[in-house]
């Protein structure tokens, strides 16, 4: 599957290695892993676990951005679905809880997709509506309180482990594989890239561009719902005010770091998830270093700037040289 691991991932992998190395310097135990009660512990596992919500969001976001769209509502959708899961957790079984939460995410995605694909609204405005309204809806569900629960099933989803790995990490990995299989195993990937690259031309070539756009927003909603359930399970409660707050920005950032252009077209699922991990590795490193968390924002900004500079056309000369170097190596 060369399409899953494109050649252009080099920059992102290098970035991750550099940040890991910096983390190792500020925290000498960074790479230490230990097995305890059949479960792995350590900073690396922590990075993976904490990075799960953004990684899940970025899986949906990357497809939306590939169609030249954007979804600002994912944080709010997380809050809605987390609230639904938390409210139902103690009275219903896990399948019902999951079905309700994911179903809500699907409906949210359909709404966004309807506004963009059918009504032709600009994605940033269309999803802004749910970004604002969604948090209100979540607060209505929790009736303004922080809803806690103790259902062991749902708690396991956030804190359990499978084969030594935290359950959220396994879920995220599963979703990556599932999304990859669906997108690259079918023609969806090509048609999404064509739609994002040139919607008019794709339409004239017979591509159902509206259906593509609708589908990616629905998938983005489902991914956000899953992230919301995991975030709720992690803290054993739903906080409608803070769950998923600003995470849409991290998800967009992860996608951009992953090399997918906001102008749509080519995308990479793996690199988007890698982008999410890069962000989390930075976060964890700064936390471990003892610097104030405010510093985090500045570092993030610098990394974004670096990535965007590399993507800008004015820098293409530089990128061209890099590409030639890579080709001569290969």
């Amino acid at each position: 599957m060369t399409a899953l691991l494109p050649r252009r991932g080099l920059a992102q992998i290098l970035a991750l290695i550099v940040i890991l190395a910096v983390d190792r310097v500020v925290s000498p135990q960074f790479f230490d892993l230990r097995l305890q009660d059949g479960r792995l512990f350590g900073s690396l596992i922590d990075v993976l676990n904490r990075g799960t919500p953004v990684a899940l969001l970025s899986l949906g976001m990357v497809l939306v951005i590939a169609t030249r769209g954007i979804d600002l509502s994912v944080g709010a959708v997380m809050a809605i679905c987390g609230a639904i899961a938390a409210s139902l957790a103690d009275s219903h079984g896990l399948p019902v809880v999951l079905a309700a939460a994911l179903g809500a995410g699907l409906v949210c995605g359909l709404w966004n997709g309807f506004l963009v694909a059918v009504l032709g609204m600009q994605p940033i405005v269309a999803t802004l509506i749910l970004m604002v309204a969604g948090r209100g809806i979540a607060q209505l569900i929790t009736e303004g309180r922080i809803v806690t629960f103790s259902s062991p099933d749902l708690v396991w989803l956030g804190n359990g482990s499978v084969l030594g790995l935290p359950v959220p990490v396994v879920i995220a990995l599963g979703m990556l594989i599932l999304t990859g299989a669906v997108v690259r195993g079918s023609a969806l990937g090509l048609l999404i890239e064509a739609t994002g690259g040139n919607a008019r031309a794709s339409e004239l070539a017979g591509v159902g561009t509206r259906a593509m756009i609708l589908a990616v927003y629905v998938w983005c909603g489902v991914c956000a719902a899953l992230a919301g359930v995991i975030a709720a399970a992690d803290i054993m409660g739903a906080d409608a005010n803070n769950a998923g707050l600003w995470l849409e920005l991290d998800a967009i950032l992860a996608v951009v770091i992953g090399g997918t252009s906001l102008f749509g077209g080519r995308f990479s699922l793996v690199l988007a998830v890698l982008g999410a991990l890069i962000i989390q590795t930075m976060n964890t490193g700064i936390l471990l270093s003892g610097y104030p968390p405010e510093f985090n924002l500045l570092v993030k900004a610098v990394v974004v700037l670096a990535v965007l500079l590399l993507q800008s056309p004015k820098f293409s000369g530089l990128a061209g040289i890099a590409a030639r170097l890579r080709r001569t190596k290969a």
Partner: protein, 514 residues
């Protein structure tokens, strides 16, 4: 500048202008002369070089060679603003003023009357009112420009340009979105300005209007100057020939031997097919192994016909049939499902997906036709891409190269390959040879003939009449968004097509038909 008012001396003189974009030579040693006080029509089909010439003169594009003299002095504006300061103003079809600002603000943008650093609104409005009164316009100048009709926006743009002491006024398709009454107003203003000694360049594809308003005509074709004539002494037929055709003798001899016409099965047919305000209802039969050419001037309804046939636009009346069975063509998907293909005129915006590879562009339509659940494996894609890259000689022969990096001719071949890969029954080609270098041009024409011999039905639009004559079995002539004439067999020659296009009024065309 007294000498600019001297009719003996040209006001604007363009000599030997050349301009290339990559391998495409958009202008080759073009001359153009504008006298003070004349209205000079600049004509030519799409891609003839009119806009390029305007943009070179106004400094939007840097020229490769040649000189521009204004009132006898050489000028070389580096930007539209510099051109304006030199006295050359351009008003484009899409008025580039600010619709959210008031008419007065638009007129005096950048030069508002000020006192103590504050704009004197009252003074500005009074002056705006006076300025527009010169043009016979009495409107509320405090209202946003966007509230007014396109005609008034045009007049505002012209008033602003003239008030900025323009000596040369270039109007690029000013009448395209105006109704008859508004055109009258505009023409009255143009005549007034000409009387004041301003030289006006009038770009339009409405020949009636050209004959009504212009003093002289310059025709460009394929980036070259075809000729400069006095309007009064230039017959319409001659003008159209200048715009579209080469010498008659040259083209008729190039006509391919007429092929067998009988026993051709109808591939797709359209009865009273049309859409109000788009193209008048037409009837058209497309047969296997036959090329039908669509001829007509720009804006005559050629592209509109193509889009209706393919399904890119919905008809509001009539019946379409494929192999005799009635079908509904509501979207490009319908067209693709029935085995139609469409290579649009605007390759970059409507054709290629520039970022994707040659391979992905080629398999796109086939994949869309097969549906999501039946993906072409990478091996199948590679094989299809390789086959067509070889068959159509696409260069460079690298299926993984982003298609945006290919030349225009090779992009066109990729689009052809995209449709051939779907094994279509009908292919609609809109200006397949536009903007393509000479070598690729001949190849595309050879391909059209070969495809036709393989039993494909082809509907081809071209502004190159000699080209249409060369490969068409039948030619449908369009004018004013209606099909007016169908030529077949021996009747297909450039002269007959030109005569049909130039015929004055539908009555004449009807007579010729009966």
């Amino acid at each position: 500048m007294e000498n600019s008012l001297d009719p003996a001396l040209p006001l604007l003189e363009v000599r030997g202008i050349s301009k290339s974009f990559g391998a495409v030579r958009a202008l080759q040693e073009v001359d153009f002369t504008l006298r003070a006080g004349e209205i000079h029509a600049l004509l030519g089909e799409n891609g003839a070089g009119k806009s390029t010439l305007i943009k070179v003169v106004t400094g939007v594009f840097a020229r490769d060679a040649g000189i521009v003299r204004l009132g006898g002095e050489e000028v070389a504006p580096r930007s539209a603003k510099a051109a304006l300061q030199a006295g050359i103003a351009t008003v484009y079809q899409e008025v580039n003023l600010l619709p959210n600002l008031s008419v007065a603000q638009n007129l005096f943008l950048d030069r508002q009357p000020m006192r103590f650093g504050i704009v004197r609104e009252g003074e500005m409005r009074r002056r705006a009112k006076a300025l527009l009164a010169d043009f016979g316009l009495d409107i509320d100048v405090a209202a946003p420009l966007g509230n007014y009709s396109v005609a008034i926006q045009h007049v505002t743009a012209i008033a602003r340009a003239v008030d900025l002491s323009a000596r040369v006024l270039i109007l690029d398709e000013p009448t395209a979105s105006l109704d008859r009454h508004e055109v009258e107003i505009l023409f009255r203003i143009m005549r007034q300005l000409a009387k004041r000694g301003i030289g006006i360049v009038f770009v339009s594809h409405f020949l009636d209007q050209v004959y009504e308003i212009s003093d002289r005509i310059t025709v460009l074709r394929n980036g070259r100057l075809v000729g400069e004539r006095e309007t009064a002494s230039l017959p319409r037929l001659e003008l159209i020939r200048m715009m579209l055709g080469r010498e008659l003798a040259e083209t008729t001899s190039a006509r391919a031997a007429t092929r067998e016409h009988q026993a051709r099965e109808v591939c797709a047919s359209f009865e009273n097919y049309g859409k109000a305000g788009y193209v008048a209802p037409f009837s058209l039969e497309l047969r296997h192994g036959e090329v039908v050419g669509l001829a007509g001037l720009l804006g005559s309804g050629r592209t509109e016909t193509a889009r209706l046939v393919f399904g890119a636009e919905r008809a509001d009346g009539g019946q379409a049939r494929v192999e005799g069975a009635p079908v509904r063509l509501q979207s490009p998907r319908d067209g693709v499902r029935h085995g139609f293909g469409y290579c649009p005129e605007e390759r970059k915006t409507d054709g290629i997906v520039a970022e994707l590879s040659v391979r992905e562009n080629i398999v796109l339509a086939l994949q869309a036709k097969r549906g999501l659940h039946r993906p072409l494996s990478r091996r199948e894609q590679d094989e299809i891409a390789r086959r067509y890259v070889k068959m159509l000689d696409i260069r460079p022969p690298d299926p993984e190269r982003p298609v945006g990096l290919l030349s225009g001719g090779n992009q066109q071949k990729v689009l052809l390959a995209r449709w051939l890969a779907t094994s279509p029954r009908l292919l609609v080609l809109d200006e397949p040879t536009r903007g393509i270098d000479v070598g690729a041009h001949a190849e595309i024409i050879r391909l059209i003939r070969e495809l036709c011999d393989d039993g494909l039905a082809l509907l081809v639009i071209s502004s190159e009449l000699d080209e249409i004559v060369t490969y068409s079995d039948r030619v449908v002539v369009l004018r004013d968004r209606a099909h007016i004439e169908e030529l077949a067999g021996e009747a297909i020659d450039v002269g007959n097509i030109l005569a049909a296009i130039a015929a004055d009024g539908a009555a004449v065309a009807l007579e010729a038909h009966t």
